[in-house]
């Protein structure tokens, strides 16, 4: 395990016209832990994800991954450095089969990739649906597919955008168990989530954003009681 944070965000600002979606946000993510990123709607969480992954160029600030700057890189370059990301709205490739969805994201030789893909599909019990078009799968199945797809390139840092959204209890528990297992394997996970039970139960450290600024940081129990956080969600 290397020293120093795996992801560092320094004074990142992102504006859209007159709106400042992310405002001098700074945070550091240590490797091998599960982090939560919470905040009221519109607090800039997904925008921050987009800045990290290169989908949106940030206006100011630096983003470092394993010590190297990644701000300004195109999304595919960021992904290849070892950062994986899921989306709020599911983005599987509908006209590709479940298996193809996994095969297409890796450049490994076919046999190797196929083997790993089968394993991952088995892991989420989708292996019997591997030849089914992803577009024909149910919401929950697509969610699982997107989850294992992000694991195919074996990223070190995984950004999950609302993994619990629209997911039933059983499936959710499976996902949470999977996330914990990933952490145990040494991966770092940053989760944007609205479901507080998930955040409190899973995350070791939680960042709270409000109006694009980080207003609190710490273990879940501390955050829960932080007056600023309470005000951000319920006050005003």
């Amino acid at each position: 395990m290397r020293d120093g944070p795996i992801l560092e965000i320094r004074d990142v600002t992102k504006r859209f016209g007159g709106v400042t979606a992310v405002n001098r946000c700074s945070l550091a993510v240590a490797p091998g832990k599960i982090y939560g990123l919470i905040g009221p709607n519109g607090s800039g969480k997904t925008t921050l994800f987009n800045c990290i992954t290169g989908l949106e160029p940030r206006d100011e600030g630096e983003i470092r991954f394993k010590g190297e700057r990644i701000d300004g890189l195109k999304p595919y370059a960021v992904a290849r450095r070892g950062i994986g990301r899921t989306f709020q709205i599911i983005r599987v490739f509908p006209e590709l089969t479940a298996l193809e969805n996994l095969l297409v994201v890796t450049r490994e030789p076919f046999e190797v990739a196929s083997g790993r893909a089968q394993e991952l599909l088995r892991f989420v019990t989708l292996d019997r649906l591997q030849q089914e078009y992803a577009g024909n799968l149910s919401y929950g199945q697509q969610k699982l597919l997107e989850f294992v797809r992000v694991l195919m390139p074996d990223p070190e840092l995984i950004l999950l955008d609302e993994p619990a959204a629209g997911v039933n209890r059983t499936l959710l528990n499976e996902l949470l168990a999977a996330i914990t297992r990933l952490r145990d394997q040494g991966k770092t996970i940053l989760i944007v989530e609205h479901d507080m039970k998930v955040v409190m139960g899973l995350c070791e450290t939680v960042f709270v954003l409000d109006y694009g600024e980080k207003i609190a940081e710490g273990p879940p129990q501390v955050i829960q009681a932080d007056p600023r956080v309470i005000e951000a969600y319920f006050g005003r």
Binding site: L55, Y76, R80, R91, V92, F93, L96, T97, L103, V104
Partner: protein
């Protein structure tokens, strides 16, 4: 099942190869043009069917190839075979120049930027009269080569269909398709979409350029309006759409079906014909977006790589 298909394919190819021995002049010309349309529709499919980036100006590559080849033949005495290949290269060059800026755009923006391309090529060709003969056109030395062109056009059609096969059954092809499915997700998963789009574009420009060269040799005379008509792009698109874009045999099917229709209707009713094409496009988009082949694939659970 697959073996029967391959056998049938082999027989068909053999028959086509032997056809000139028994065919009439009209028959050869008919098939020659059919091959040309198969090649064009399939080339369009390589780009637009797979990546979802609609090229509305694809005829520009055809015309560029035609002129490049014609100029090489008339001014530099090249043989029309190599000249046509050079035409393909010229078309690829054009694709590189245009593709580099325009492919950065999102799909619909790219499509519109391609809309103006064939007009610009027509204007440029008309302007550089010294080189291209301008509005007066370019005449090639007389040569009756229908049979040879039959074979070369046929070869082009086979080659591009084979290319389609290899691409669609490969991971490269899958990656191209992810661009169509969800470009943002594709990028987020580490696929360099810009480069892939460009590759597909270059590939899709080559054969139209070559075929343009054959066309120039075949008709013996080209002028700007003849080789840069919007109608050719429309026809390519209808054929690929109708047969089934994104598949291997779809464009072939569409080309055969609609070329036959064309021979029956177009000769006398040009505008009605084009009107029909417009209506077919509307119909396909609304009712069968994956074309005839798509319908068959659904019905009979055929493999996607067909």
């Amino acid at each position: 099942m697959k073996r029967a298909f391959l056998l049938g394919l082999g027989v068909a190819l053999l028959a086509l190869a032997l056809y000139p021995l028994v065919a009439t002049g009209y028959g050869i010309r008919f098939m020659l043009q059919l091959f040309m349309w198969v090649a064009l529709a399939q080339s369009w499919n390589l780009m637009s069917g797979l990546t979802g980036y609609v090229s509305f100006g694809h005829v520009a590559f055809f015309g560029t190839g035609a002129y490049a080849a014609a100029i090489l033949v008339t001014t530099h005495g090249w043989h029309w075979g190599p000249a046509s290949l050079a035409g393909g290269v010229a078309a690829m060059l054009l694709a590189l120049i245009i593709g580099y800026p325009c492919l950065r755009l999102k799909g619909p923006y790219f499509a519109i930027s391609m809309l103006g391309l064939n007009e610009v090529m027509r204007v440029l060709v008309s302007y550089f009269e010294g080189l291209t003969g301008g509005g007066l056109g370019l005449s090639l030395p007389t040569l009756h080569a229908s049979v040879q062109i039959y074979y070369t056009m046929g070869l082009a059609a086979v080659a591009v269909t084979a290319a389609a096969y290899f691409i669609i059954t490969s991971r490269f092809g899958l990656r191209l398709m992810t661009i169509r499915e969800d470009e943002i997700a594709a990028e987020a998963m580490g696929i360099d979409t810009a480069r892939h789009k460009l590759y597909a574009f270059l590939l899709s420009a080559f054969v139209p350029g070559v075929v343009g060269g054959f066309f120039a040799r075949d008709t013996g005379y080209i002028e700007p309006i003849a080789v840069f008509p919007l109608f050719y792009t429309i026809t390519m698109i209808v054929m690929a759409l109708f047969g089934g874009k994104g598949t291997i045999w779809g464009p072939v099917l569409g080309a055969v079906a609609l070329f036959v229709l064309q021979e029956l209707v177009w000769a006398r009713f040009l505008y009605l014909h084009q009107l029909l094409f417009g209506a077919i496009i509307v119909l396909v988009v609304l009712a069968m977006p994956r074309g005839i082949l798509g319908v068959l694939q659904e019905r009979y659970r055929l493999p996607r790589t067909l």
